[in-house]
């Protein structure tokens, strides 16, 4: 049993946002932070921890899970107990907050995915591969172009009387088609709703292709904040779309659950977390990279340093650096940038 001040921490560092979740002893979300990564994942993670420390000065973190595209980096900085990919993290979170979920639609800043579950087990999934047309950044861009704040995008879209049809295959063409529709004199609401429909069609044709979409359907990721998209999904799929309470931070929530699962599985005595402590906030980290000249691959190896000690390295194909071999001594053999 967890004590009142003990928490599991889940961290999801994605391309657009960095999310942190604190899970309390009742498995409830005590705190959820949604920060913009802005290309500086290390600073953003520290900023998130700083906010957590300010709000929960007494907190004791007893387990940490990381996910997202910078999961490895986050795991190194924090000392994570679990490092998992986004698919698994999202699926775990969804099936914990809504047991029985069969389909997860997830649209984030630069990627989108679909996950099919049956009896709580992931049976199929897909991620967008070569195109980012159906993702949050695109909506962001178009909102900016139309001069409306992104928060108003959805509420305006559901006001539409006659949504216009917009070509959604490609974001560039969608944009020119949208401009064309504007010039014809369609109302802003109708265009926004049309855009939502185009995006949903694009998503279902690309990411959702060949997938068996069955209810209950959960819609999560930053874009789930947009009621226009939700409505478009409901119309297209003919089913109710559920938006979980913490839709924007489901990845981080999943990571926290995974940390809890892992540490709980180690039976009886709770295993100590590898968490480096909230004082990580005050630690200086440096990241640097160099080209390894060991072979023709010329891998770009990234290393994370704390006070001149190497915490971790990755990026090599052969594993000579990431497995801890070729320690400091041989760095001189390669051309340090």
């Amino acid at each position: 049993m967890l004590l009142g001040n003990e928490y599991y921490l889940g961290v999801d560092v994605g391309s657009v946002s960095t999310n942190l979740v604190l899970l309390d002893y009742e498995e409830q979300v005590a705190e959820a932070l949604y920060l913009r990564t802005m290309g500086r994942p290390m600073q953003t993670i520290k900023e998130g921890l700083k906010q957590l420390r300010a709000k929960f000065p007494q907190a004791r973190i007893i387990g940490v899970g990381t996910t997202g595209s910078a999961r490895q980096l986050a795991a190194t900085l924090l000392g994570a107990d679990v490092v998992k990919n986004e698919i698994t993290a999202h699926a775990v979170a969804a099936s914990r907050v809504h047991p029985g979920v069969q389909t997860i639609l997830e649209i984030g800043g630069q990627d989108s995915k679909i996950i099919c579950l049956r009896d709580g087990v992931v049976v199929d999934f897909a991620m967008n591969t070569v195109c980012a047309a159906g993702t949050g950044s695109f909506l962001d861009q178009q909102a900016g172009r139309l001069g409306i704040p992104i928060e108003q995008f959805g509420p305006l879209a559901i006001e539409a009387q006659h949504p216009v049809r917009i070509a959604g295959r490609c974001s560039v063409f969608a944009e020119s088609d949208m401009i064309h529709k504007q010039q014809l004199g369609h109302s802003l609401e109708d265009i926004l709703a049309g855009l939502c429909q185009a995006m949903v069609r694009n998503y279902l044709n690309n990411v959702g292709k060949n997938k068996d979409i069955r209810g209950p359907i959960l819609f999560q990721g930053g874009v789930a904040a947009n009621p226009g998209i939700r409505k478009a999904f409901e119309e297209e799929l003919g089913q109710e779309i559920i938006i979980p309470k913490h839709f924007a931070v489901m990845g981080a929530l999943g990571a926290a659950y995974l940390a809890q699962e892992k540490l709980a599985r180690a039976q009886g005595e709770r295993t100590a977390s590898r968490f480096r402590g909230l004082q990580v906030v005050d630690t200086e980290f440096q990241a640097s990279s160099f080209d390894c000249s060991g072979c023709a691959n010329h891998c770009e190896v990234v290393e994370i340093l704390q006070d001149q000690t190497i915490l971790a390295r990755w990026g090599d194909r052969c594993g000579k650096w990431s497995s801890g071999k070729g320690e400091q001594g041989s760095v001189s053999e390669v051309n340090v940038r």
Binding site: S69, K84, N85, E86, I87, T88, D119, G120, V121, V122, V123, D124, F125, M127, T129, V130, N210, C295, A296, N297, H298, R317, C318, G319, K320, S323, K325
Partner: protein, 375 residues
């Protein structure tokens, strides 16, 4: 004359052996790297498939080693590979490289024409008997290589030290490169077998998950193109099973089925029949047939690999969901091209392996029990 050829995984070891047995001067291109791909991408049309881009990069890097003649196999049938040789000849000429390109295929169906081309590469000093002998030895070398590779696939999830399998693999490859007689080949295979046996004696874990890798031959044979999918899976604790090996292709296409190679391809079209009864070019039918075979053998999952825009594989991938449904086996398609990132591939592989693991470890639910009762 100094002959070079494009890279495709371990194929260079076999081709080098062939030319060296015949005393033909050969320049093996440097191992394919990012730099190779960059060189090729500059020359190739953007929409061409990934192998063409890598081929061109290989030639340019081989030119620096003094190569002046390219040997490449051709193809008949609706896959773009069939016109690679010709297209590459023209692209290289336009870029100012004076390469002689010898395409090993029967021109207009003429076997005599093919014989003349082989004779041109082998030179006057080699008799046909000697050429055939060299080809047979090269073939046996490729079978030995495939055996080693398959053993490494099984060893990766079972050896405790993460790099142990890679070390064994590169050592075995070195032995095979040096072997100039059958005895050397056998010894190399035996030695790696022994080391693996010793190495995995300590393995006490669960039976590793098994994943079948199917798809376009170049991408599955060439770890650079597939971003080391097989090695990555191995590191995630998965035993990889592959649909096509080099020697099988050689047996099927060079020896016209007289030799079958390490893993015969001949059953695939029959297995594919209920789903894809026609030849669709490339190895589309083999991909579908192999998926059926892996599913029947009880693999935990299947991964299809293809370069972006590969028509035969696109046809195959549109059929795979039916196999997925019929055999209840998860199948994932991975498309690679020069823009593919390791991180993206890794995320998908990890998620796929998680899926397989959770599927295997899941406890019976009430619904399952009811289903069993109904059946």
């Amino acid at each position: 004359m100094k002959v070079t050829f494009p890279h495709m995984g371990n194929a260079w070891i076999v081709i080098q052996a062939l030319f060296e047995t015949l005393n033909v001067d050969v320049a093996v291109p440097p191992p394919t790297s990012k730099g190779t791909l960059n060189l090729g991408t500059k020359l190739a049309p953007e929409s061409s498939c990934l192998p063409l881009k890598i081929n061109l990069g290989n030639y340019i890097e081989a030119a620096a080693k003094g190569a002046d003649t390219i040997a490449i196999t051709g193809g008949i049938g609706p896959c773009r590979f069939g016109y690679y040789g010709e297209v590459e000849r023209q692209i290289l000429r336009d870029a100012g490289y004076s390469y002689e390109v010898v395409i090993l295929e029967p021109p207009d169906g003429s076997l005599w024409g093919l014989a003349k081309r082989i004779r041109y590469l082998a030179g006057r000093h080699n008799s046909w008997t000697k050429i055939l002998k060299a080809m047979r030895f090269a073939y046996r070398k490729s079978v030995a290589l495939d055996e080693v590779e398959d053993m490494i696939h099984a060893a990766r999830p079972r050896l405790l030290e993460p790099l142990a399998a890679e070390k064994l693999y590169s050592k075995a490859k070195q032995h095979l490169i040096e072997a100039s007689e059958d005895k050397g080949l056998e010894e190399a295979v035996f030695r790696v077998q022994q080391s693996i046996k010793e190495g995995q004696a300590a393995f006490r874990g669960e039976k590793p998950l098994r994943v079948g890798v199917v798809g376009e031959i170049y991408t599955i044979l060439d770890p650079f193109s597939s971003l080391d999918v097989e090695q990555q899976l191995g590191n995630l604790g998965v035993e990889v099973n592959r649909s096509i090996y080099l020697s099988s292709w050689v047996g099927q296409h060079v020896f016209q089925g007289l030799a079958q190679g390490y893993r015969p391809l001949r059953d695939y079209p029959r297995l594919a029949k209920p789903y894809l009864p026609h030849f669709v070019g490339g190895h589309g039918q083999e991909t579908v047939g192999a998926a059926v075979q892996f599913a029947r053998e009880g693999a935990d999952g299947i991964i299809q690999l293809l370069p972006l825009g590969c028509m035969p594989e696109i046809v195959a991938s549109s059929v795979l969901p039916r196999i997925q449904a019929d055999y209840r086996i998860p199948i994932m398609t991975l498309t690679v091209d020069e823009h593919s990132g390791r991180a993206g591939v890794q995320t998908r592989l990890e998620a796929f392996v998680d899926l397989l693991e959770r599927r295997r470890n899941r406890t019976l639910t009430r619904e399952d029990v009811l289903n069993v009762a109904r059946e």
